[in-house]
């Protein structure tokens, strides 16, 4: 399967002439990359994806795929696989007919269709489900059919609009592994839209964090997490302590704060609440007139602290990230 790079060039899109959904977004997605568009609802991530797919055309700016300007190419000539949040399986067709649809539109021969549908269903571990209808499948199985239907046409680009959003937590985690593995096996460029930061961190090669139609930061999951550039990114990804004491806001992740005896502490405080998370405990500690979040992982001996306990806070200055705004 050949994969293609994607380039958005200062793309802008507004609806009804006033609501600016995407505001001058420029992005370069490499061929074969697992790329996530991450942000809260209304940040413009889905509109960006729909412009790559061709369902929306930008007011200004260009969209390139594989080095070609495809801004004016209609949807059905773009050769992209798309997986929708609601799966959008054809309810009146069987699993095999759903998967065969794109091949049929391309005039592929009957025997070739049968062969490729079987192969695609094998890829998503759904062999034997050919004659079921979507309504007879579980959410996870429907998700896999949608994937098979999108990859069977051997697209250069696979677009996923919150494809795991409707699944329960356990299944979602499993599908995260499967999707990532599938993408690596096929080597296809995958653009993944999600509002779930854990999901984006877990699966992506790179992430673009979006807010109010603009890209706040692009980077690998570790960069985004460890070195957030703006206050929005720092706040949106995981938990964060924002320290507004100097001229510029600074951020400190809860797991970088150590709970120590008050004698060795930078700050002395009192535990307000202790949330047991299984593998870790998240403490809210009031110290120096504000509240700090501190995460303590349970490796080795646990010394649980309860609300009201006196505790000391310590951290390394190198762990503090200075934000732009």
């Amino acid at each position: 399967m050949t994969s293609a790079s994607i380039k958005l060039e200062s793309v802008t899109k507004s609806f009804d002439g006033k609501v600016v959904a995407v505001d001058g977004v420029t992005l370069e997605i490499k061929a074969g990359e697992f790329f996530s568009l991450l942000g809260p609802s209304g940040c413009g991530k889905t509109t960006s994806l729909r412009m790559i797919a061709g369902f929306e055309s930008p007011d200004s700016g260009r969209v390139h795929v594989g080095g070609q300007d495809i801004t004016d190419v209609p949807v059905h000539h773009r050769d992209m696989g798309m997986v929708f949040q609601s799966y959008a399986l054809f309810p009146h067709r069987t699993v095999a007919e759903n998967v065969a649809f794109g091949l049929r539109m391309r005039g592929v021969s009957r025997s070739e269709i049968d062969r490729r549908v079987a192969a695609a269903l094998a890829q998503v571990a759904l062999t034997g489900f050919e004659h079921r209808r979507p309504a007879q499948l579980s959410g996870g199985q429907q998700q896999r059919v949608a994937l098979a239907r999108a990859i069977v046409i051997e697209p250069r680009v696979l677009l996923c609009d919150e494809p795991l959003g409707a699944l329960d937590r356990k299944l979602r985690q499993q599908m995260q592994f499967e999707l990532k593995e599938l993408q690596q096996r096929l080597g296809v460029t995958l653009v993944f839209v999600t509002h779930d930061q854990e999901e984006a961190l877990a699966m992506s090669d790179r992430i673009a964090v979006m807010n109010r139609g603009k890209v706040e930061q692009v980077g690998s999951p570790t960069e985004i997490y460890e070195r957030p550039r703006t206050r929005f990114v720092a706040d949106f990804i995981g938990e964060i302590n924002l320290l507004d004491d100097g001229s510029k806001p600074r951020a400190l992740r809860p797991e970088k704060i150590r709970l120590v005896p008050t004698a060795q502490a930078r700050l002395a405080g009192t535990v307000e609440t202790a949330n047991f998370l299984g593998g870790a405990t998240l403490y809210r500690v009031s110290a120096g007139g504000r509240t700090y979040l501190a995460r303590e992982t349970h490796s080795g001996e646990r010394s649980p602290r309860a609300a009201g306990d006196a505790v000391g806070l310590a951290w390394n200055d190198t762990d503090i990230v200075t934000l732009e705004s």
Binding site: S86, H92, G102, M105
Partner: protein, 293 residues
């Protein structure tokens, strides 16, 4: 909808009693009277000599005057043409309205569709007469432009009847279709397009088959209404058109033969039921039998 049936009747079940009574009084009872009458030689209440007979049905089947079979065929033909034309006009309109983003636009279009229903059938039919008759708007305009020398036969025939019937029944088609089309997820068509189908192909492959239940319901509604129409065919059809409902009215009003009228009514209903069942079966098969009921 839900298959969870409760065995105890709900405490508000008696609320359907008035509807049930109405149904019994104005549908079941007249229908029973009609069927019974059709098998009597006369009115068994006023005429003690009335006997049981099938001669009214024989009269229709033999059709010695040569008008009954024509009337039945004409009724069905008008019903069929009206249904097809209403569907062809109503479907694009319903599709457009169901997919309309603007709420205001939707409300305005809906008002425009419903507006004809606010005027009585007789008034609307007379309005068509002023447009279609020999000295009507269309003919006088065309003649004054010199495009034609003789008025076109636009009414007092089947054409005029169908035009007026379509006008009356398109709203029923549209209202039935809107609900069904609006429930079809737009993303299904988008998925089809992303898989390589053009807009029209995506419509044919996805939206059209999924809207078959609406097409079925709307067509049956319009068909049933137009084969039972009386006022419009009488006014627009002139002497050219004779439908079964007109024949029934004649038998009741001028021939004073309620028994034969009853037999005609039963025949109309029977033919109608056969067509409905056949249509249902065919469309049901076309739509893949499942998930569409």
């Amino acid at each position: 909808m839900s298959s969870v049936a409760s065995h105890r009747p709900s405490p508000i079940a008696w609320l359907i009693a008035p509807a049930l009574l109405l149904f019994l009084l104005f549908f079941i009872l007249p229908f029973a009277v009609m069927v019974v009458m059709s098998f009597f030689s006369g009115n068994p209440i006023s005429n003690p000599n009335a006997v049981l007979t099938t001669r009214h049905y024989q009269r229709f089947i033999e059709d010695s005057a040569g008008i009954f079979h024509d009337a039945l065929w004409e009724t069905l033909r008008i019903g069929l043409v009206t249904t097809v034309v209403s569907l062809l006009i109503g479907y694009p309109l319903a599709h457009w309205m169901a997919r309309m983003q603007s709420r205001l636009g939707h409300a305005l279009a809906l008002m425009a569709v419903i507006a004809p229903l606010l005027t009585g059938i007789v008034v609307r039919t007379f309005a068509w007469m002023t447009i279609l008759q020999d000295k009507g708007v269309i003919n006088t305009t065309l003649i004054s432009w010199g495009l034609i020398s003789k008025p076109l036969p636009l009414m007092y025939n089947e054409f005029g009847t169908v035009v007026a019937l379509v006008h009356i029944y398109v709203p029923f088609m549209v209202l039935t279709l809107i609900g069904v089309i609006a429930r079809i997820d737009e993303r299904l068509e988008q998925a089809a397009r992303s898989l390589g189908a053009g807009r029209f192909r995506a419509f044919l492959e996805v939206t059209l088959p999924l809207s078959l239940p609406g097409i079925l319901a709307g067509s049956l509604l319009v068909f049933a209404l137009s084969i039972s129409a009386y006022v419009t065919p009488s006014l627009m059809g002139g002497t050219d058109v004779l439908t079964l409902p007109m024949l029934i009215a004649q038998q009741l009003g001028t021939s004073f033969n309620p028994s034969f009228a009853g037999a005609l009514g039963v025949i109309l209903l029977a033919v109608c039921l056969v067509i409905v069942i056949a249509y249902n079966a065919i469309l049901g098969r076309l739509s893949g039998e499942q998930g569409l009921a």
